[in-house]
């Protein structure tokens, strides 16, 4: 995101003001301008804190076991997820990226840290790092390999740079060897890094 550089005076003030005072000042301005109501901040914090990668994992496990849900999730993601019981109230549009044999997705936000928070909660620290954001678009195959995700050379890696209004989650492939597993057991396999595409779900050991 491109912003004007701060003046030296603004920078000094930001560096020396306690974060709590900055937050109070920002909140006051937003309320005076009528952009937010007092109750909206705690409500939004509660919504994000309620969300966690477990919710995303449960959505994936349902998609792995219920072909009708999978089809609904891919054709109208927000509607399918809300029908599953996850509230996306006030959240940006949701996009689902379906991994298939030969086609893997990796999500990044090179501008900041856009992330499907309503579904996955707060992003992991590495997702917001400058190194991840730069390397995901520049050398995704090398980046994945460093995390032990070595994809066949013929597999196309699709990097999805979340620059505007959508929030993207990866629907990974169901690992071999999980035939007959129930949803809860399958959900236990899915990690947050699988939902971003840095890793792929695998059997333990």
């Amino acid at each position: 995101m491109a912003h004007t550089p701060l003046s030296a005076a603004e920078r000094a003030l930001l560096d020396t003001t306690p974060p709590r005072a900055l937050f109070a000042a920002l909140k006051k301005v937003l309320m005076e301008k009528g952009l937010i109501a007092p109750e909206e901040i705690p409500a939004q914090i509660a919504l994000t804190e309620r969300a966690s990668p477990l919710i995303g994992a449960q959505v994936v496990a349902r998609a792995w076991t219920d072909p009708a849900f999978r089809a609904a999730l891919l054709s109208a993601p927000a509607r399918a997820v809300e029908a599953f019981g996850v509230s996306l109230a006030g959240a940006p549009p949701l996009g689902i990226l379906e991994n298939r044999p030969g086609r893997h997705h990796l999500v990044v936000c090179t501008l900041c840290s856009c992330y499907p928070r309503a579904l996955l909660g707060y992003p992991p620290f590495w997702y917001k790092s400058a190194a991840y954001r730069a390397r995901a678009v520049r050398d995704p195959r090398g980046l994945l390999a460093e995390w032990g995700t070595v994809l066949p050379p013929e597999t196309e890696i699709v990097v999805v740079d979340s620059t505007a209004d959508y929030r993207w989650m990866v629907l990974p492939e169901r690992p071999a060897g999980t035939e007959g597993w129930d949803e809860a057991r399958l959900a236990g396999l899915v990690r947050v890094s699988d939902l971003v595409g840095m890793t792929v779900p695998a059997l333990p050991g």
């Binding site: 995101m1 004007t4 501008l111 678009v137 195959r141 740079d161 620059t163």
Partner: protein, 94 residues
């Protein structure tokens, strides 16, 4: 404005408004001036460049634009592609 079709070749405008004053831009530097193709129409959203400054924000078509790494990087990594959400005014038909 909303005339692009999937598969159509486009070039991202090589413009740098941040050089001239305060802006809020969702088009990353690394795709400006580069060629790609329309992958999908994603919908219509208020222009974030106006929203950020509390100006009236006209709705704009948003596209998923696909870039081959050869179009972006000096030493491209094979077998990869990059999808970026870009608003229509930033795109020039080729």
């Amino acid at each position: 404005m909303n005339g692009f079709k999937p598969g159509q070749r486009v070039r991202v405008r090589a413009e740098w408004p941040e050089r001239h004053g305060p802006v809020h831009i969702r088009t990353p530097h690394y795709v400006r001036g580069r060629e790609g193709e329309i992958a999908a129409f994603l919908g219509v959203f208020p222009n974030p460049e106006d929203l950020a400054f509390d100006r009236p924000a006209p709705p704009l078509p948003l596209y998923h634009v696909r870039f081959r790494p050869e179009a972006l990087w000096p030493a491209p990594v094979s077998g990869t592609e990059i999808l970026v959400e870009i608003f229509a005014p930033w795109l020039i038909p080729l």
